[in-house]
Amino acid sequence: VSFEISNMEMKLGETLKLKGQIQDNRFAINLGRGPDELSLHFNPRFNESVIVCNSKEAGCWGQEHRDDHMCFSQGADVKFTVTFQSEEFKVTLPDGYQLTFPNRLDHSHLSYLSVRGLHISAFKLK
């Protein structure tokens, strides 16, 4: 079961901050317009030591981006920020490293957030 928010109003230029504790050997933060319309799927996998990012359009996954900058582990309390820009998403990892992923779906407004494998303690939109 994942933490889910719908009817959110995240506009271009806004930043989402999430704090939580990693519960599993992989977790995911999804941002978009619904479960089948994801502008950003952010998915760290500890067993592969990789962060996979992707998009999903009309239920179909796009091409994966893989980044091996892994600076957190299972059980850790972590904070991520996601800035939503017209060209790309900027995800800031707990150590300050910034990862970017293109805004392929070209949305200017995101309404859906889901999180699994990460127990959320705070959510902030700015």
Partner: protein, 135 residues
């Protein structure tokens, strides 16, 4: 009223505190925070009314059990203003929910549904959630 943010699978347990911060619209008439299991099973319907349904500057609370509303509770304290940022804290145990208003005033509302976890939060009306924390 426009439908606002809906959060599910919060898994808020007794003793934990939910802090919600958001913006009250400049021309606000009324806003709602609903908490419970789902939209038909609410342990707390928290509805500050600036000017709505014949009420002026009154907080109306209620519960909803299987889609049926309970008995309304009216709280005279009203530390809310249109066009401002407000923060409300809600905690609960088996018997009561405790609501802390922006000025620190606290009141209780009975936990009529005896819920052991709060999994659902929805905002409605002239209020936009900017921040939530689970402590």
């Amino acid at each position: 009223m426009a439908c606002g943010l809906v959060a599910s699978n919060l898994n808020l347990k007794p003793g934990e505190c939910l802090r919600v911060r958001g913006e009250v619209a400049p021309e606000a008439k009324s806003f709602v925070l609903n908490l419970g299991k789902d939209s038909n099973n609410l342990c707390l319907h928290f509805n500050p009314r600036f000017s709505a349904h014949g009420d002026t500057n009154t907080i109306v609370c209620n519960s909803k059990d299987g889609g049926a509303w309970g008995t309304e509770h009216r709280e005279p304290a009203f530390p809310f203003q249109p066009g401002s940022v407000v923060e409300v804290c809600i905690s609960f145990d088996k018997t009561d929910l405790t609501i802390t208003l922006p000025d620190g005033h606290q009141f209780k509302f009975p936990n009529r549904l005896n819920l052991e976890a709060i999994n659902y939060l929805a905002a409605d009306g002239d209020f936009k959630i900017k921040c939530m924390a689970f402590e």
